[in-house]
């Protein structure tokens, strides 16, 4: 694979960029693989990459029913942070955060990770208690997170309205400076290119329609739109569609799929320096490198696989934005869209073996899995390769729903994303 660099770019500029290779191949599926990953989102592609790179497995396919990166990886608001409360989550998300640092260099693809800081606002005494609990727990877990007074918050993010007269005045904020954003598409493309380079077959437009199992129950391969493909191991990394796929192996999941919306404004000159999230007022916002305000909303209340979302959800979301940033009332929304997110009862992911031999699942990231992409892919690859979890993901099992040993970030009144 040709290395990407400013020199390569300059060289290509002189010949009208005719020399670039395909970033990833488009092979026909082989008859069988050592590992098949279902779902070419960031987590799936990353899993394939680490399986090939760190576990020496060369015979891997990623099957994608549509175009790679077109699932939630391609529709998320790209907030990256790791200041989760519980040890288990902090470990997982911080593993990811540390990986973001060098991801561009590792995969030789600029994913534009931007550590511009993620600030979470407290609007009442309860918010203060909860966010401070996070700040303290994070510090002792080695996760960066600090407490800001309203004035400090305003300095960090000048558009913020810290007047006492607003409906829910800002009483402080928790700031993770290393939090930020990344270019979501580039994450999928970069992993695809790097995986492809290591020999991984990425097969798009190839929907998995069945999971074939041997008499002993173990996985032998998958049925697809392109016929049967054999596999020793299958990793399901299909976000909103996980229940549907696991059902093919008779595994029923503690998941529900909801439409989750986002929108972008028209592009504006730089006005918003960081990421701001508010749990009480229900919104979050950042400004992309192209200039649009990228704004995330909540889910619709009902389960659905239609990635659309309703106008009243947009309304609720923008109310919050205009309350926090009244000047944005005259800014216009340019495009809205939605994804289908898979939500577990405790809002924590499942990264685990399943009761079916050879079948692994990585799901339940709900409204906030983009930030975890490198970490999740990394430990999931470990889990598949070793048929045992990495220390970092050993809590994120399916069994926890039986024992009640939940990692309940939402119950701890944490925020999404």
């Amino acid at each position: 694979m040709r290395k990407y660099s400013i020199f390569a770019l300059a060289r290509e500029a002189m010949r009208q960029h005719k020399g670039w290779e395909e970033q990833w191949g488009s092979p026909e599926p082989k008859s069988s693989y050592d590992v098949i990953i279902i779902g070419a989102g960031g987590h799936g592609l990353g899993t394939a990459y680490y399986l090939a790179k760190e576990h020496g497995i060369k015979n891997i396919a990623v099957l994608e029913k549509s175009w790679l990166g077109g699932g939630n990886t391609g529709r998320n608001t790209t907030v990256i942070r790791s200041n989760y409360l519980y040890d288990e989550s902090a470990g997982l998300y911080n593993h990811a955060l540390n990986m973001w640092d060098n991801l561009s260099q590792d995969i030789n693809y600029n994913v534009m990770y931007s550590a511009r800081g993620v600030m979470m606002l407290a609007h009442n005494v309860h918010d203060v208690q909860v966010l401070k609990r996070h700040v303290h727990a994070n510090r002792l877990n080695g996760v960066q997170n600090e407490w800001l007074s309203p004035q400090e918050a305003k300095e960090f993010c000048p558009p913020l309205n810290i007047s006492k007269s607003c409906r829910y005045p800002i009483m402080g904020a928790a700031l993770q400076r290393k939090g930020g954003t990344a270019r979501h598409d580039a994450v999928a493309w970069g992993y695809a290119r790097a995986a492809s380079d290591l020999g991984v077959d990425i097969i798009q437009n190839c929907e998995v329609t069945g999971i074939r199992r041997a008499a002993d129950g173990s996985v032998t391969g998958v049925e697809t739109g392109k016929g049967f493909i054999g596999a020793k191991k299958v990793g399901v990394v299909a976000a909103g569609n996980t229940s549907h796929i696991m059902q093919m192996a008779d595994v029923r999941m503690p998941l529900e799929s909801f439409p989750l919306q986002a929108l972008v404004s028209e592009p504006l000159k730089p006005i918003f320096p960081c990421v701001v999230m508010s749990n009480s007022v229900h919104t979050y916002i950042s400004q992309s490198d192209k200039g649009e305000l990228v704004i995330g909303a909540g889910t619709d209340q009902y389960t659905s696989y239609a990635p659309n979302g309703s106008l009243h959800i947009t309304n609720h979301n923008l109310e919050a934005i205009c309350e926090l940033f009244p000047a944005f009332s005259r800014v216009k929304m340019m495009r809205t869209w939605a994804g289908t997110v898979d939500v577990t009862p405790d809002r924590s992911p499942i990264l685990a073996k399943t009761p079916v031999k050879g079948l692994y699942v990585n799901c339940g990231w709900g409204t906030g899995g983009f930030k975890a992409t490198p970490g999740s892919a990394h430990v999931f690859a470990h889990t598949i390769a070793n048929d045992a979890p990495h220390k970092i993901n050993e809590f994120f099992t399916l069994e926890r729903f039986k024992t009640g040993r939940l990692v309940d970030e939402s119950a701890a009144a944490a925020v999404a994303h």
Partner: protein, 107 residues
């Protein structure tokens, strides 16, 4: 905003009058205290989450206040029928009939 027929109000009403209440027809065991860990997990957490026709509960919370059930296509969001809580789960045939009727209505 969906438009949902409340079987008690006998009328379509806008979604924001309603509160979604999860999957329908998950029975609460009468001997709840005695069920196995597996069954408890199923009862609490395991959901169909089907990519297709689903059964769900709604409450007309800002209307008549009643809980009721709804059959919806989770891919198109089309509502196929709603019925009062306590009424039996409609059969496949009944659902098919309802879908046909809706198609005719639109044509």
């Amino acid at each position: 905003m969906l438009y949902i027929r409340c079987p008690y109000c006998e009328e379509y009403r806008p979604e924001i009058e309603f509160r979604h209440a999860g999957e329908a027809h998950i029975e609460r065991p009468t001997n709840l205290a005695e069920i196995s860990a597996d069954d408890m997990e199923k009862f609490l957490f395991i959901r169909e989450n089907k990519r297709g026709i689903i059964f769900e509960r709604w409450r007309h919370i800002h209307g008549c206040g009643r809980f009721f059930n709804c059959v919806r296509d989770a891919v198109t969001d089309q509502i196929i029928m709603t019925y009062k809580s306590g009424e039996p789960k409609p059969s496949d045939a009944e659902i098919e009939k309802a879908i046909l009727a809706l198609k005719e209505e639109q044509a």
